[in-house]
Symmetry: C2
Subunit: 366 residues, 2 copies
DNA sequence: TAAAAAAATGTGTACGTACACACTAAATTA
DNA sequence: TAATTTAGTGTGTACGTACACATTTTTTTA
């Protein structure tokens, strides 16, 4: 990749420092170097590299040999500069105003946007209402119609996501998703293993379990049918207990956000539950209910929302599992940008670590 | 930053699609655009941007106005291309052959190297013997003498690191460190808050504590004097217990790697310790000792070494705190590369999250 | 007021890649 | 053998920035 610059100098005193300087210098291999070594013009080298024919067999051999020998790598900067195209990336995420969970996600995206402000990419963020699948499809279709080079979205709804993907297939748009569940035929997905996530929750609770402890899985959401992610967490959770403590009974409760406090309160008192695995970011609801009932309990749930954090510090939530929505968003966006600008390859499916948060290490998260 | 390209076209059928295409297209602002708007030559614009004078007040005003109005951002690609310099980065880390802990660190660096293979950076990795401070200084001095553009190292030893930093100050070399402890006057440091890290360990153990439990902090290392990081963890640990359970006695034991098993075994039996916070990656030594004594115990320690992982899965280690040496290394190297290539700014001090690992979420770590 | 000096401005070229176009040499046809 | 086609090759220019140098304009001096 590099060659030491050869040089022949009559070493006067002044030249001497120059020589030291140059002897350390390294030089990148360019097509010009290849052309020189293969004894052809840069045009021929270029034709070989891009395989657009019109090259004699003899020249082809020589150029390929030189390419190999000097280990040529095209300069991505020059390439990108010449390319002179502005790539567009459209992003569709749930409205953070409607659900606070998505706030870090927007923040992460905005950071990446300003990071690449000076580059030839045009990134735009759009929101849908997480409680309205139709808003998701509508906004999505609008964006797809504008034919961006890449479309990055949160596949919150199963069927609706597949509809968008179908539309994307018609056009030549890179398909990328993050968070929630990976769909088929997506070019790139960044997320977490939700089944494993459930097992992690189970292990955290298991460490506190006594034979008599009553355990419940709580799902808090308005659109449970579409949210398979909660089901996957439940499966993971149960699989762990099946292995470690097969006899232990585990209650499951789906709670609507309407009259949530009363429902929860009733459920807890009726069944005398003391250990809770909450599958969504609304974990604070359980902590709050326990607090109002003045009951002790072990609560493990999801995400670093302000309300969750305050209960974590008060000791009413023992652990939170961090889904890092911001990181997921920024990672997937970065991958897209670098793929477009420098055609850097990135893994098709990237599962981020499942991070365990307690009252202490929470301080180390931004 | 962008302008919609204006165009006036007589719309024949063929032109129509062309028009649609162009009307969506955006164009980056270049110095050429600025020159046009300010009604001067690009040379003048260039002089304004680089503040090298020889510009009339009138022109300066016009150019600055245009710069402001169009929100000009120099194209980092073109700039870097023109720059045409190969930057060198020298890296000095402990030899992974001598201490397995550093293996992911080397791996992380190698990944970044191949990631930027095609760019104008020349990154070289060098090793020192972590048990020999002199080897650290010697290798370090050699590298500094070669005058790289940046020098990235692990400040494992206090005094010796400061000696290197002094040498670096003589020359115009960017000073970067990761892992261990941040030193003064470094341009960039990536690490973890070790005091907080100790508190996290304390909290993890605290959740299991019964009034009668005997707790010990175990330091396993050969050169404790130089390793302030272990002291910081101890302080953090104790501070937590002082707050939460002031009366609880906490033993502290420094163990040399020589005759380690015997020493540990004796210590544990004599004091009837059941809960252990091990401040280094050699946590497996404690787990192994407990296993051989056939004693139950709670062990919290550091890092995902193979031996630690196997005891974690066996249940003989409850939690590991992940210091992510690989991530620290790759993050700091990336920052350096991007600073040199695109002069992207990065925070002077970056503290990574303290990650808690148990037998389940360990699967989600690479 | 002309000449000289200083200040301001514009032009040209390079970085490395990519591609259009012009060109030369060999192969085919009339 | 000349005219034409075709294969193979080389040259020139653009991308956006940065800087050296040439040129123009203004100011100062004689």
């Amino acid at each position: 990749m590099y060659v030491h610059t050869k040089l022949v100098l009559s070493l006067t005193r002044i030249d001497f420092h120059f020589w030291i300087y140059l002897s350390v210098m390294k030089k990148k291999i360019t097509i010009k170097d290849i052309a020189k070594v293969a004894n052809v013009s840069i045009g021929t080298v270029d034709r070989v590299i891009h395989k657009r024919g019109k090259v004699s067999e003899k020249a082809l051999l020589k150029v390929n040999a030189a390419l190999e020998e000097l280990n040529y790598k095209a300069n991505p900067l020059a390439r990108s500069l010449k390319n002179n195209v502005i790539y567009t990336i459209a992003i569709l995420i749930p409205d953070p105003e409607k659900d606070l969970y998505w706030l870090p996600c927007r923040k992460g995206i905005e950071e990446v946007i300003s990071e690449y402000e000076a580059f030839d990419v045009d990134i735009s963020v759009h929101f849908f209402d997480p409680s309205k699948p139709t808003s998701f499809v509508q906004k999505g279709m609008e964006l797809i119609a504008m034919c961006p080079n890449a479309f990055l979205f949160v596949p919150l709804f199963e069927r609706e996501s597949d509809r968008l993907l179908e539309a994307l297939n018609q056009r030549d748009i890179i398909k990328a998703t993050f968070n929630s569940l990976p769909r088929n035929h997506v070019d790139q997905h960044v997320g977490q293993d939700l089944y494993l996530s459930g097992r992690v929750g189970a292990k955290l609770i298991y460490d506190f379990v006594r034979p008599a402890s009553k355990i419940a899985i709580i799902h808090i959401d308005e659109a449970f049918n579409n949210a398979i992610h909660m089901q996957q967490k439940e499966e993971g959770f149960k699989s762990f207990f099946k292995e470690m403590s097969p006899g232990h009974e585990i209650h499951t409760k789906i709670v609507d956000t309407e009259q949530i406090r009363q429902t929860l309160s009733d459920f807890i008192q009726e069944n005398q539950i003391t250990m809770f695995f909450v599958t969504t970011s609304k974990t604070y609801e359980v902590a709050r209910t326990l607090e109002s009932l003045d009951m002790a309990g072990t609560v493990v749930g999801y995400d670093l929302l302000p309300d969750n954090l305050s209960y974590l510090k008060k000791g009413r939530i023992q652990f939170l599992i961090h889904q890092a929505p911001g990181l997921q968003a920024s990672l997937s966006l970065k991958s897209l940008v670098e793929k477009l600008l420098f055609d850097k390859e990135s893994p098709k499916k990237q599962l981020l670590p499942i991070e365990i948060i307690n009252s202490e290490n929470v301080e180390s998260y931004p």
